[in-house]
């Protein structure tokens, strides 16, 4: 086709890569950069390296195209073959877990939340990559370190996060009496009540939705001063603060669109885009889709951070996307090189631009990317890393906190109370018991 020698490997790579290469405007340029980078990089891929990479299935198409472009450039510059497979949010973790347990199948996983913390002993120490990137790109946000480090060493690189922020219809919020988006808990509750009264209801997932439900319910707990575990990882969920959070969420739930207890991660996207839902908590993907398919909704919607808690501080649980390298890979250097390459400005900047706000950075320099200010509706997603907490909250991120979020301990507690299955005391007691089972 062109100057590249079509060796056996590039023939085997198949249609996907060709397609991505065809969509490339500056693939030649990118390749030149990639070659120069590979010369200078501290990680030298093993000769003949083949990497199996698993990533979550894209929510924003352009992001995936840009990602594959980077993969392509890396393959051509270094001769490393990368086989990318995609799985939906919910299937990433079981697949990665099986690979971790059997010690084969995957080399690199780009997953969600605290995935590396489920099996820290199976993750390659990435401290050198993290230090290299931190030095080059203005340092890591504190939440980035919390998401990457276990016992002083980096077990994964938090590539990006997607913010669980409020998506709302401007006209409906104004009609409910809020020209400006409320900044405190009382105002937020009032907004949701008013919207329901006007027949333009809000709704947030209370089902087993790993991203959506965990996100806003952790915020609600933290905003009222509640915590699942304290600083020394002791279970402290059974507290008056939690009871306040439960009552607050119940107040919101009673004004939600019916059915949120059965919602999964895609339910609110569908309902919002169909014009049936007027406020929810989500990544920027609704807006990105609306701009393409439903411009009236895009025009009328905006984003905001969840309101501050009783102490005046906002603490959100945003969906982090860490990348990890398994200890049993035969090509650790190639994996590290790829991870570093991915987060270099030349690659990362166009990539987050293509993601249109879906990927928020943990590396400080990338908050200067024009994507965050070009459209003011994107701006709230810039601060995701600043306000993010790990699922451990004030505690130490680790295996147990990762298990607690995967087992929906908090989501079940809130849903139990909101749907009237249990009263406040019982709901807290069952959550306490579940948490103690995990943190034993």
């Amino acid at each position: 086709m062109n100057s590249f020698t079509p060796d056996r490997r590039s023939l085997l790579k198949g249609g996907g890569t060709l397609l991505a290469a065809a969509a490339t405007m500056s693939s030649e340029q990118l390749l030149g950069l990639a070659k120069a980078w590979a010369q200078a990089a501290p990680w030298k891929p093993e000769p003949g390296a083949k990497i199996n990479l698993l990533r979550w299935k894209r929510f924003v198409e352009a992001e995936d195209v840009a990602f594959m472009k980077i993969v392509d450039a890396f393959q051509k510059a270094t001769g490393v073959a990368i086989n990318v497979s995609n799985e939906s949010y919910d299937d990433i973790q079981p697949k990665a877990s099986v690979a971790a347990n059997t010690g084969q199948g995957l080399d690199l996983v780009w997953g969600l939340y605290s995935l590396p913390f489920l099996f820290p002993s199976k993750c390659v120490d990435m401290t050198d990559v993290a230090d290299y990137l931190g030095k080059k790109c203005g340092g890591w946000a504190p939440s980035g370190e919390a998401y990457g480090k276990a016992d002083g060493k980096w077990i994964g690189i938090p590539v990006a996060a997607t913010g669980s922020l409020v998506n709302y219809r401007v006209a409906a919020a104004e009609k409910a009496g809020h020209k400006e988006f409320p900044k405190d808990l009382g105002g937020f509750a009032d907004l949701i009540k008013g919207m329901n009264k006007n027949g333009t209801p809000a709704g947030m997932a209370l089902g087993h939705a790993s991203g959506d439900a965990n996100g806003w319910l952790h915020w609600a707990l933290w905003a009222h001063g509640g915590n699942l575990i304290d600083k020394s990882n002791k279970v402290v969920i059974n507290s008056p603060e939690t009871a306040k959070a439960l009552d607050y969420v119940k107040g919101l739930y009673d004004n939600f669109i019916p059915g949120t207890a059965s919602w999964n991660d895609s339910s609110n996207n569908k309902a919002f885009l169909a014009g049936q839902l007027y406020l929810t908590v989500n990544g920027i993907s609704i807006y990105v889709t609306a701009r393409k398919e439903n411009p009236q909704i895009a025009e009328d919607m905006n984003h905001a951070h969840l309101p501050a808690g009783v102490d005046g501080k906002t603490r959100e649980l945003n969906l982090s996307f860490p990348i990890l390298v398994f200890t049993f890979t035969k090509y650790p250097q190639a994996c590290k090189a790829f991870t570093a390459f991915l987060l270099e400005p030349e690659q990362y900047n166009p990539w987050i631009e293509a993601a249109q706000g879906y990927l928020s950075p943990f590396l400080n320099d990338y908050t200067k990317n024009p994507i965050w200010t070009a459209d003011p509706k994107n701006t709230p997603y810039r601060e995701v890393a600043t306000l993010a907490n790990t699922p451990a909250g004030v505690g130490q991120m680790g295996e147990n906190a990762a298990a607690a979020i995967a087992d929906f301990v908090l989501v079940d507690m809130f849903a139990n109370y909101c749907t009237g299955r249990e009263d406040v005391k019982t709901a807290m007691a069952s959550a306490e018991r579940s948490a103690k089972r995990i943190f034993r």
Binding site: H208, W263, S267, E399, T419
Partner: protein, 319 residues
């Protein structure tokens, strides 16, 4: 024959001089065992070993990615006062009993209908099989749309007809969700029961019915005293399978509700997966899976003993 005659006395004569191994090698009673060995090895490797490993795991605190140590009954002790576990046991029993009973009733009725002579018989029979052929995940996704809290076709139709004024909360309300998943399971399971029972019906000799008609037997009497007794062994087999499939169902629930709302549809299988694989506690997940074994054994035992009781199985009449 001649080899047999020569080898027997030779073996008896040399009994003291040959080693134990060489005697075992030629002993005719042991030959059977040698021949069974490959099959036994296969069973042990692929059936007994995984099962044993699962049971062993339930006594350890194994997690994903690292081995566990023996902790005795600790996993079971935690499960014993775990409300979610007991809820899942209740859900599983409810799901199995209700779904199996309805599947049997509808399946038997369908089989009796299909056994009649009618035009396009072969085609209708194959159409009945369709729900069984569709991959579970596909039909689960179809049901997921049917039950969607905002876009349900059922809610939509009823609203357009003016019968209700808001969407039905199929998967968001505990009891409705249970009903919905049971309905989906029945939809999938009926063809298996119906077609298998139909196969059983075809083996019943028409002459029995003719004789009964001559004796003036009513429709009900013919069913009760000819069809039902002759069908019993097939019913036992079909229902054993049906109960086992339903009890261990996973895909349908996982695709539809993931055990929600608030664990109202969590079955033991889905809970075991959530705890074992999703949150990484293999030991605990294995304990939940192991806790299913007694129930399954009981189901098998009931139908097995039920089948043994039928006299005709030993060749005599079923009088």
């Amino acid at each position: 024959m001649s080899t047999l005659q020569t080898s027997m006395p030779a073996q008896a004569a040399a009994v003291d001089t040959r080693s134990l191994w060489s005697r075992l090698r030629t002993n005719r009673n042991w030959v059977a065992l040698w021949f069974m060995l490959p099959a036994a090895a296969f069973l042990i490797l692929f059936l007994a070993y995984p099962l044993g490993l699962g049971v062993w795991m339930s006594f350890t605190d194994e997690r994903i990615g690292r081995g566990g140590v023996f902790i005795g009954l600790e996993n079971y002790e935690w499960l014993w006062d775990d409300a979610i576990f007991w809820l899942s046991v209740f859900n599983t029993l409810l799901y199995t009993i209700v779904a199996s009973a309805i599947k049997f009733a509808i399946g038997l009725y369908l089989a009796l209908l299909l056994n009649r002579h009618m035009p396009f018989k072969a085609m209708i029979r194959s159409i009945v099989l369709i729900p069984f052929i569709v991959p579970t995940v596909l039909s689960a996704i179809a049901f997921w749309w049917i039950y969607d809290s905002q876009f349900s076709i059922i809610s939509w139709s009823l609203i357009k007809l003016g019968l209700i004024d808001h969407n039905i909360n199929f998967l968001g309300d505990s009891n409705l969700a249970r009903g919905s998943v049971i309905f989906a399971n029945i939809w999938r399971g009926v063809p298996f029961v119906a077609i298998t029972l139909l196969a059983g019906l075809q083996t019943v000799s028409p002459s029995l019915y003719e004789a009964a008609v001559l004796d003036g037997a009513t429709n009900w009497q013919r069913f009760r005293y000819i069809t039902y007794p002759l069908l019993t062994p097939i019913i036992a087999v079909v229902m054993t399978f049906s109960v086992l499939f339903t009890f261990t169902d996973f895909q349908l629930i996982w695709a539809l509700t993931r055990g929600g709302p608030v664990n109202a549809t969590h079955l033991m299988a889905t809970l075991s997966y959530q705890r074992g694989i999703i949150s990484g506690r293999l030991g605990e997940g294995a304990a939940i899976a192991t806790a299913m074994i007694p129930f399954l054994m009981a189901a098998i035992a009931i139908s097995w003993f039920g089948m043994q009781r039928r006299k005709w199985q030993q060749g005599s009449n079923n009088d």
